[in-house]
């Protein structure tokens, strides 16, 4: 008998004829928040992870992205240091910043910073979700450079994790990002920045 058939057979033996009937109780939905409160909550929760949040109007996104890069990289950075996800609107990009051209993933490590959009953002937990689309970029793009700048638009913000899952494609390669990479492995003391980007800047437009 194949291992597959044997394991499945064991499960059937273990469960027997009478399988338990289980009702799953409903879970209350998220608290209802006005749009402004939702953005405020997102900003507060993202900052809690020691990430930087810069709020602006939709028109101010380009200038705010530049300000975020100034903060993260220090003045004097070159546009060539910043790699941009291919679906990021032209207006948001620092002029002269190269687009991810699909080069071997490991070569992305040469860039100092990445600029992407997001698929959705969760206010309650301060989470950004990247979905591998042109706007979010492939997974390695938001992983290897040491600074990640993400632009979030007001309409992308949802109250809680279940709302986000409802908006996402389960087949897409998703990365849920809650603050910069961190570890608590040494005496459970949180240290930001291990293997993923050590600096996270969120530009929140709206």
């Amino acid at each position: 008998m194949s291992a597959r058939d044997e394991v499945l057979g064991r499960i059937r033996t273990a469960l027997g004829e009478q399988r338990p009937q289980v009702a799953v109780p409903p879970v209350p939905g998220p608290r209802s928040l006005a749009p402004a409160e939702l953005l405020h909550l997102l900003a507060e929760r993202v900052e809690d992870y020691r990430a930087t949040v810069l709020r602006c109007t939709p028109d101010e996104v380009p200038a705010t992205v530049v300000r975020g890069l100034d903060l993260a990289l220090g003045a004097g950075w070159e546009p060539a240091d910043v790699v941009v996800a291919p679906g990021v609107p032209a207006a948001w990009r620092p002029s002269g910043a190269p687009e991810d051209d699909g080069r071997p993933a490991v070569q992305l490590a040469a860039f100092a910073a990445t600029l992407t959009g997001v698929a959705t953002a969760v206010a309650e937990t301060g989470t950004l979700v990247l979905d591998g689309s042109p706007l979010s970029g492939r997974r390695a793009l938001s992983l290897l450079p040491d600074v990640l700048v993400c632009v979030v638009e007001a309409a992308q913000v949802v109250p809680d994790v279940p709302d986000a899952l409802g908006r996402l494609d389960p087949l897409a390669p998703l990365t849920m990002v809650s603050g910069p990479s961190a570890t608590s492995d040494i005496e459970l003391q949180r240290v930001e920045g291990v293997h993923g980007p050590r600096t996270l800047v969120v530009v929140l437009a709206g």
């Binding site: 194949s2 291992a3 597959r4 394991v7 499945l8 064991r10 499960i11 059937r12 033996t13 273990a14 469960l15 399988r19 289980v22 009702a23 799953v24 109780p25 409903p26 879970v27 209350p28 608290r31 809690d48 992870y49 699909g102 490991v106 490590a109 309650e124 937990t125 301060g126 591998g132 492939r138 997974r139 390695a140 992983l143 809680d160 994790v161 279940p162 899952l165 409802g166 389960p170 087949l171 390669p173 998703l174 990365t175 849920m176 990002v177 809650s178 990479s181 961190a182 570890t183 492995d185 040494i186 005496e187 459970l188 003391q189 240290v191 920045g193 291990v194 293997h195 993923g196 980007p197």
Partner: protein, 507 residues
């Protein structure tokens, strides 16, 4: 000679193919085989715990760490008004999934396959190790990068790969500390919780080639040393091995929850990804993740959300590994499933909250449990995976205080399973042990008022004997001495309630 429950621990018997396995349940379902993996220690819990209790440094490290994490967890759980409903939903979802586990696994297999992945089934640790070793060999690589995974620790995958000439590099910081220190994990979430910062610095100084000799014990500096050490290995890795926190049957989506980004490195950069997952990790629907992703991080690291959660379904052209293998592991899980009371242990989402609140774990440490699953969940899971005869002392490694149940995000009734396993163990005994004598004796005494009075008066004698000493001395004759040796017997009151009542009402 005492008659502590003797664990038939892992004798170093190499298992020939077809050799008898460690045991089977009454339904004939095999438990995890002996001689492979890390579900059995070399000592019984009381013996191992006694050694650990003498280690003041260990107790200090553990006490500090668990106090911190308990506080963080309590704060983020308190901010969710519907926590209890979430918890009950998590519990019910797990129970409903287990009731149709076969169907969900078949659906998962269909979906993963449809998206370009390959699904393998492993009856036990030996088979899983063989499958992974062959898959790695087929790539021609002699090293793999690993994301922290309980399942691969359970089956002893690193040792199996090493025997095949393949180096397995642990990339989680705590796992790296454990691996470099040639140590073993002592906590589900923070495997190096028993080490403090200066001990970690010493390990790094000794083992990382080219490490800055001026390395301090500042956690940030230590984390940066690990970053530098692993960076180049991530970039050159061709094969990664991971576990999975969840797998969604209806979509074939796998999920890994982590903090450092080492998981993302492993799940994204290599050409080939091999995921080893216990069969109980499947959830039926995509939306079920909404419940578990709220429960897990708050219970685990005490955060609203962990830094990174990655999900993927099969392979995605142009993004991440182009070859994906999923190994579905039984290794005793179906034997656990066969026990209507014990099967709840399969609901565990490995958050480690029960370890952090357990007074026994806090004092004895994770190594005393002898298994990769320590603490309260280990005390109920390990003996069921191996058969209770191979981990006979673990169901007694608890004071039944119930704190583990209170914090468990999927409301596993660990105390009840412990009592159930004790009863099972007592029943299986052919020779009397301290526990079997105590348990049988207790039920006899409690059902007979005259004996009960006598016993209470005898307890008054116990008070006399224990005056000025922390525990009853081991002068009581075996087998009772074995029971009292590892327990702080509460000093009984001078008079029993009945004596007092009778005296007062005589006046």
């Amino acid at each position: 000679m005492t008659t502590t429950p003797q664990d038939a621990r892992a004798e170093p018997t190499p298992l020939a193919p077809g050799a008898p396995r460690s045991g089977t349940t009454f339904l004939g379902l095999p438990t995890a085989p002996r001689g492979v993996g890390h579900l059995r220690g070399t000592q019984s819990f009381p013996d191992a715990a006694r050694t650990a209790l003498r280690d003041g440094q260990l107790r200090a490290n553990l006490g500090r760490a668990t106090t911190t994490i308990r506080g963080k967890r309590a704060a983020v759980v308190a901010e969710v008004p519907h926590w209890e409903q979430l918890r009950q939903a998590g519990k019910a979802l797990k129970a409903a999934t287990m009731a149709h586990l076969d169907e969900h696994l078949e659906e998962l297999e269909r979906q993963v396959t449809a998206r370009g992945g390959t699904v393998h089934w492993a009856r036990d640790a030996t088979e899983a190790n063989r499958i992974v070793t062959e898959l790695v060999r087929a790539t021609g690589s002699d090293e793999v990068v690993k994301v922290k995974s309980m399942a691969t620790q359970e089956i002893g995958l690193n040792e199996a790969l090493e025997a095949a000439g393949i180096e397995a590099i642990e990339t989680d910081l705590a796992e790296l500390i454990v691996q470099l220190g040639e140590d073993s994990p002592s906590h589900i979430l923070v495997p190096a919780i028993h080490k403090n910062r200066s001990e970690i610095r010493e390990i790094f100084r000794r083992t990382i080639p080219g490490v800055d000799p001026g390395l301090t014990d500042e956690p940030r500096q230590l984390a940066m040393a690990a970053r530098t050490h692993l960076r180049e290995r991530f970039l050159r890795a061709r094969v990664a091995v991971s576990g999975a926190n969840f797998a969604v049957a209806e979509t074939g989506t796998l999920a890994v929850v982590e903090s450092e980004g080492n998981g993302r490195m492993c799940l994204t950069l290599p050409q080939t990804l091999i995921t080893v997952m216990g069969i109980e990790k499947v959830v039926p629907r995509w939306e079920d993740l909404g419940v578990f992703l709220q429960l897990l991080p708050r219970s685990s690291t005490g955060e609203r959300m962990n830094p990174y959660t990655s999900t993927w379904a099969g392979v995605t052209p142009g993004d991440g590994p182009q070859e994906f293998h999923l190994v579905l592991l039984d290794n005793g899980r179906t034997a656990v499933l066969a026990d209507e009371v014990g099967r709840e242990a399969l609901h565990c989402i490995r958050c480690s909250a029960c370890l952090n609140v357990c007074p026994v774990y806090e004092r004895a440490g994770g190594h005393a449990y002898g298994s990769v699953y320590p603490g309260p969940i280990g005390a109920v899971l390990s003996p069921q995976l191996t058969g209770v005869e191979d981990n006979a002392s673990l169901p007694y490694a608890s004071s039944l205080c119930g704190a583990c149940y209170d914090v468990c995000p999927v409301a596993i009734d660990i105390p009840s399973i412990l009592v159930h396993l004790r009863a099972e163990h007592v029943e299986a005994q052919t020779r009397p042990t301290a526990e079997s004598v105590a348990f049988r004796g207790l039920s006899r005494v409690m059902s007979n008022p005259r004996l009960w009075h006598l016993a209470q008066r005898a307890a008054g004698l116990g008070r006399f004997l224990s005056r000025g000493r922390p525990t009853l001395p081991a002068v009581l004759p075996p087998p009772v001495s074995a029971w009292t040796r590892t327990r702080d017997l509460p000093t009984p009151p001078g008079k029993s309630f009945v004596q007092q009542w009778t005296e007062e009402h005589r006046r």
